[in-house]
């Protein structure tokens, strides 16, 4: 049933959000964001299947491409951050916050 797929999507999406919120390691955060996109994909394919139209699958394809585009930037980000601070801890990058503003 379609609702099962949608529910699975939502739960997976929530897990992704939890990953983004609770982890400090930027690579894990990134993978959690990928999880969000995959959660959306699951449902889109299911919907496309129920509607018997291929549009949903095309959207999935496009989302995969978007994920790839973001992936490229994230890879660059890892390189830049690691080169600067030898660490991928999200919490040590707080030079700009109010704490240091004045």
């Amino acid at each position: 049933m379609l609702s099962n797929y949608l529910t699975l999507s939502v739960i997976l999406f929530s897990i992704g959000i939890i990953g983004v919120l609770s982890r400090k390691n930027i690579i894990v955060i990134y993978m959690s964001i990928e999880l969000l996109l995959n959660a959306v994909n699951i449902s889109l394919v299911a919907i496309s299947n129920t509607l018997q139209s291929n549009e949903g699958q095309v959207i999935v394809l496009m989302i995969i491409a978007i994920a790839a585009a973001e992936a490229a930037l994230f890879m660059a980000l890892f390189v830049v951050l690691f080169r600067n601070k030898r660490s991928l801890d999200a919490d040590i990058f707080n030079l700009l916050g109010e704490k240091n503003a004045s």
């Binding site: 049933m1 379609l2 609702s3 797929y5 949608l6 529910t7 699975l8 739960i11 997976l12 929530s14 897990i15 992704g16 959000i17 939890i18 919120l21 609770s22 982890r23 400090k24 390691n25 690579i27 894990v28 990134y30 993978m31 959690s32 990928e34 999880l35 995959n38 699951i42 394919v45 299911a46 299947n49 129920t50 291929n54 549009e55 699958q57 095309v58 999935v60 394809l61 496009m62 995969i64 491409a65 978007i66 790839a68 585009a69 973001e70 992936a71 490229a72 930037l73 890879m75 660059a76 890892f78 390189v79 830049v80 690691f82 030898r86 660490s87 991928l88 801890d89 919490d91 040590i92």
Partner: protein, 169 residues
Amino acid sequence: MLNEVLFYILSALILVSALVLISARRPIDAALSFIVTLVSIAALFALQGSSFLFATQIIIYAGAILALILFIIMFLNIQDKNLPDEPHKKRDITFSTLAVLPFTVVLISLINKSPLVDQALPYDLFGGIKDIGSVIFNDYLLVFELISILLLVSLIGAVSLAKEDKDVK
């Protein structure tokens, strides 16, 4: 019926591996469990008969993107000592779950209230490469073109960010 059972097995796999992903200490472990998630999702696609997406998911996601992640992890040579200390990980996970819970619960209840609830999936074989291709090039040509520019932009961005500058002056 078999489809239903398979769906539940795959869902369980997806969710468990996702949970492992977000709680693993070392990124390499997370990446490996992410592969499980992605492959399970691909299997879910296959279950619904969309053969092309099954292949794409395996090739691009599990293959390319994850390979990239692993490559980066290796390339940066992240040691255990470079990993952040996360003494409050369990607490953080609990609190974030509480923060997200309203969203999850409300959205699931809405889904179950909507008329989509009892639509069954036909589980036919559909979404072959030919069908998808014709939809892309008939209906989604604009999006397809835009995607190419998006990829170009991210390519330029990634290169200009990650390169060691010799010529920037």
